[in-house]
Amino acid sequence: MSNTRTNEGSSINTTVLGADEIILNMGPQHPSTHGVLRVKLKLDGERVVGSECIIGYLHRGVEKIAEHRSYQQFAPYVDRMDYVAAVSNGLGYCEAIEKLLGAEAPPRARVVRTILTELQRIASHLLWLGTHALDIGALTPVFYCFREREEILKIFEKYCGARLTTHAFRIGGLQYETYDGFEQDVKRFCEDFDKKVDEYETLLTENRIWVGRTKGVGILSAEDAIALAVTGPVLRASGIKWDIRKAAPYAAYDQYEFDIPTRPTGDTYDRYVVRMEEMRQSRRICLQAIENIPAGPIMARIGKVLKPPPGEVYHAIEAPKGELGYYVVSDGTTQPYRVRVRPPSFINLQAFDKMAQGSLVADVVAIIGTIDIVLGEVDR
């Protein structure tokens, strides 16, 4: 406990403890820190008076690796950051490099990308819902969520052969044409899915205990959310209507109609409601997109060896967890000079201290769950 580095300005001070105060280390091995996050809590009884997130247990130097790989070679690595939303990561990276090259994926590729990314968003939210409910003690939803997530993973598997770290997209478009029956699979899933969401909602939304555990817990005001650069559902639950899919459309999002759900309070319950609604909206996008996949090539003509002109580019997409940005600098060679990732989990995790102040130990678990972090992305 003594030899850990402590962040400057963190609210915890482990040397001075009151008579009733204890230090509790949650993690890195703890069932509900979603991986290897370590949270150091200063407790007064069960009330949190200070907290500090200690990260880096899963650091693999992804950004540094990028500097020694060609542009195509690095693409599979990004799947390993947010490993529960690998498709979204791949989309962000591919589009960033396309931007750097000045190329654009053909329309068919863009629509398929949209469909897969939205399915991935649903899968990611399902995983979040299951584990979040499990953290709060509801044992059952997680299995229902995995049942539906399995359907999505099956579609991924049929499409590209991998379930989790898919590497589904290539720079310039798609590697594979969609398989026979892709449309039917997606359509069947989407048609059933609305009822499934209703099913989760009957288990949780109006459950007295669930509401009691989430309402008023981990409140993040709109000002704080902006000040902490929080994005994604966490930001929208604080009442700010900001979604990159609308603000700076990429892929094929400008063609489809969908709403951006927001909620006023910014507590855990609101974040839950926002994500539930986002799943429905994703389904809506998928249904619109699947009806009309344009024919045509799936790969832009960009050549085998990528040598982008010197320059830099920042491209952000709306990943399931928030704004996922890639800042890529090219020096004109086949390898990027620098790749910097703006991971939503990492930035959103900053809000943890703000949310956890004055809450109870049980709330800490709910708050970690509600931020929806993936440690692979936080640590990179």
Partner: protein, 441 residues
């Protein structure tokens, strides 16, 4: 046979025998409750549960027990070794001791104490030391927090549960477990129908007392890893588990005895006979149930994938058949034996129904937070239980003194009043919640 035993120890023979049977059977029973729990959970969660060890996982508890027995026993370096060793033992001992006063049947009881119910409550209130001392001795923050939570929770909910029991006690007019069941037979109604609110309070209180979800805060795995059991492993951990499940059976037995008519058959006063024989019509129900299970097992046996599983399944079917024959045979045995065997059947059936309710609740609800749990206990259950005692007491006096004869009518009135009170208390709770809510921006 009785003349073989010297008269000085004769009164002790039967109780000792019962005691040995209970101590021997209970660990097995606890193991199978765990299997039941996993199967029920799997069923509710759209999966299969244990399937590998034995047919449909029927031998899983034995495999688990073996595994736990041969696991390495770890004692943390800075633990208090004496208490670390002592706490799980205490936990199991108190749970088992409570069985001394539980009547599994009219004759199947180790000791019919004058203060039977109070004895069980007293002994099970000792169980808290197993948790608290174990949590403290582990010398870990998670364990300590679990232990503190547990101490506060048990003390709070014991009060509510105890007060809920009082309402049934007043109806029975005795503390002896046997007399309480007899009173339900004499009055011709199970007390759950007379004081349903009391039963509800006891149900909630007993879930909290046994640390089951949604009140499983002392061992909440997502917050405190495993609470007071965090540092335990191997057989000590198994002892805690055994204690917990034995406790579940204890609270289920109390509820069965006080509210669900103990060993009494449903419609115990209905005594039509079967085709002129001495057999009562409803007494053949257990036989039919076991027979049905046996047939089902035999039907399933050839469908098992592995040879050994076929054999085990057939053996299970055979066991059910033997039980069915035993049940049928008991019908023609002397009254004492018949009542004993069938009483035990109905008692255990009710106990398992109660435990099933526990499991159902566990897999449906999220977990309470500690302050919410305390608020529920002190602001809702205890006042409700207090009012319940007053209202039920008043009704009993009215019945006795003012010839207010119809028991079901008074039960209805009591329940209506209690539901009103519950709604009132619940409304207050909601107001409190509304007060914390943040105004919309």
């Amino acid at each position: 046979m009785s003349h073989l035993i010297p008269p000085s120890i004769q009164p002790y023979v039967l109780p000792v025998l019962f005691g040995v049977v209970i101590v021997a059977v209970l660990p097995l029973l606890a193991g199978y409750i765990v299997l039941l729990e996993r199967k029920v959970m799997a069923d509710m969660q759209a999966r299969l549960g244990p399937m590998r060890v034995g047919p449909h996982g029927l031998l899983q508890p034995i495999a688990d027990a073996l595994k736990l027995l041969i696991k390495e026993d770890i004692i943390p370096v800075k633990a208090d070794v004496f208490l670390f060793w002592f706490a799980p033992v205490l936990s199991v001992t108190t749970a088992l001791l409570a069985y001394a006063a539980i009547p599994f049947g009219p004759a199947f009881q180790i000791a019919d104490l004058n203060v039977g119910l109070l004895f069980i409550l007293a002994i099970s209130s000792l169980g808290i030391y197993g948790i608290v001392l174990g949590g403290w001795a582990s010398n870990s923050h998670y364990s300590l927090l679990g232990a503190l939570r547990s101490a506060a929770q048990l003390v709070s909910y014991e009060t509510a549960a105890g007060l809920a029991l009082v309402s049934a006690l007043m109806l029975a007019g005795s503390l002896s477990m046997k007399d309480i069941v007899q009173a339900q037979y004499d009055q011709g109604v199970w007390f759950i129908f007379v004081v349903p609110v009391g039963f509800f309070i006891y149900l909630v209180g007993s879930i909290a007392e046994t640390n089951r979800a949604p009140f499983d805060l002392p061992e909440a795995e997502s917050e405190l890893v495993a609470g007071y059991m965090t540092e335990y492993s191997g057989f000590r951990w198994a002892l805690y588990f055994l204690g917990e499940y034995a406790n579940m059976v204890v609270v289920a037995s109390i509820a069965t005895t006080l509210f669900l008519g103990g060993w009494l058959r449903p419609f115990a006063r209905y005594q039509d006979h079967l085709f002129g024989t001495s057999v009562e019509l409803l007494d053949i129900v257990p036989t039919i149930l076991f027979l049905g299970t046996a047939v089902y097992c035999f039907w399933l046996a050839p469908k098992q994938p592995v040879q050994i599983q076929k054999i085990v399944m057939a053996l299970v079917g055979g066991l059910c058949l033997i039980l069915a024959l035993g049940m049928a045979g008991a019908l023609f045995a002397p009254d004492a034996v018949r009542m004993g065997v069938h009483g035990a059947f109905w008692f255990l059936a009710k106990v398992f129904a109660y435990i099933y309710a526990f499991l159902w609740i566990r897999f449906t609800f999220p977990r309470y937070r500690f302050d919410q749990l305390m608020r529920l206990g002190w602001h809702f259950l205890i006042p409700l239980a207090l009012v319940n005692v007053v209202v039920v007491g008043t009704t009993i006096v009215l019945q006795q003194n003012w010839e207010w004869r119809h028991p079901m009518l008074s039960a209805l009135v009591t329940t209506a009043i209690m539901l009103g009170v519950a709604a009132f208390l619940g409304r207050e709770d909601k107001q409190h919640q509304a007060a914390v809510e943040v105004p919309e921006p």
